[in-house]
């Protein structure tokens, strides 16, 4: 059993459970993956597998060092590589081993790690859920930050003050999503709920930590 699998977000839709309940789901193209490198305590100081997500990539898009690295395991077209630490109970995977969606079955719990959608330089209302002021009725305070502290004491802005700035494009983990469906033919993994990132974004699907 592999500690996880790599994938690509396809999109969201909904399904109905037999009892009639509607469930929001995200479809992930999970795998086929290949073990590209095996990190061992002897050589690297820790125990992990490096997985590669196999897809069609023009060879010219990959650097020569990258291609050479993939060649050792015979993993062609693996642009997206991620390392997963091995946990007790995981198989001893060797470079060249395939990791497929059939590792998962409905009702399993997984954590999904991705890079959230970038929002650019975002204001306080979007970034920190400040309320902002009224748009009309003579209001001259719309989406401005307002007061950011007291005056001569402390004469400075306290660290950690929530302000406008860059938002999104950061690593986000969503824990304990339920696996709803597994399609081994198309390598599609269906999980309950939302997953960080845009459609087509790369994600790491890991067996739930707790």
């Amino acid at each position: 059993m592999s500690p996880g699998i790599l994938g690509k977000k396809i999109g969201m839709t909904q399904v109905f459970r037999p009892d009639g309940q509607a469930v929001p789901v995200t479809l992930l193209k999970a795998g086929p993956c290949m073990v590209v490198q095996r990190k061992t305590p002897n050589t690297d100081g820790y125990d992990a597998v490096q997985l590669g997500f196999i897809e069609f990539i023009k060879p010219s898009r990959l650097t020569k060092p990258h291609t050479g690295h993939l060649k050792k395991a015979g993993a062609e077209g693996a642009r997206f590589l991620r390392e997963l630490p091995l946990r007790p109970g995981d198989d001893d995977l060797k470079p060249g081993d395939k990791v497929l969606v059939d590792q998962f079955k409905p009702k399993d719990k997984v954590d999904v790690i991705g890079v959230s959608k970038g929002r650019g330089f975002a204001g306080l209302v979007k970034r920190h859920h400040f309320r902002g002021g009224a748009d009309t009725h003579g209001s001259m305070f719309h989406r401005a930050p307002g007061s950011i502290g007291a005056s001569s004491f402390p004469s400075r802005v306290l660290p950690g003050m929530r302000m406008a700035g860059h938002m999104g494009s950061e690593r986000v983990t969503v824990r304990n999503l339920e696996v709803i469906d597994v399609d081994t033919e198309d390598n599609v993994l269906v999980v309950k709920g939302a997953v960080p990132g845009p459609n087509g974004g790369y994600v790491v699907v890991r067996r739930a930590k707790r």
């Binding site: 999109g11 839709t13 909904q14 399904v15 009639g20 479809l27 193209k29 198309d186 599609v188």
Partner: protein, 115 residues
């Protein structure tokens, strides 16, 4: 627009037993209703005045006039609560959303049958 795998998944999961009907048609929707531990069917008959969205979230709005009072219900087409749908009568209309029927009553709210 949608990814091929998403389309395939939706086609696998959507209901295929709904008859073909259009806005303007009169249909009878049989809804499953749970009373305690018993389940029975309730019919709602009326004119389809809107059909919205595609995929798993597709829904219809059905309007009828009950004791002089207009009643509209929105049904998710792929949901399990719908037992089955009967097509009662077709109707010839010239637009997709028939919200104008809300302002009409009696003879003015009739629709001609489609050939």
């Amino acid at each position: 627009m949608n990814n091929a795998l998403l389309t395939k998944f939706i086609n696998k999961n959507r209901r295929t037993d709904t008859p073909e009907f259009r806005p303007g048609d009169t249909i009878r929707v049989h809804v499953k209703i749970k009373e305690g531990d018993k389940e029975r069917l309730q019919a709602f008959e009326g004119t389809v005045i809107a059909r919205k969205n595609t995929g798993m979230g597709e829904s219809i709005t059905v309007r009828k006039v009950s004791f002089g009072q207009g009643v509209e219900r929105i049904f998710p087409l792929n949901a399990r609560v719908i037992d089955h749908i009967d097509l009662v009568r077709t109707g010839r209309v010239r637009r997709a959303k028939l919200y104008y029927l809300r302002g009409l009553k009696g003879k003015a709210a009739r629709l001609r049958e489609r050939e």
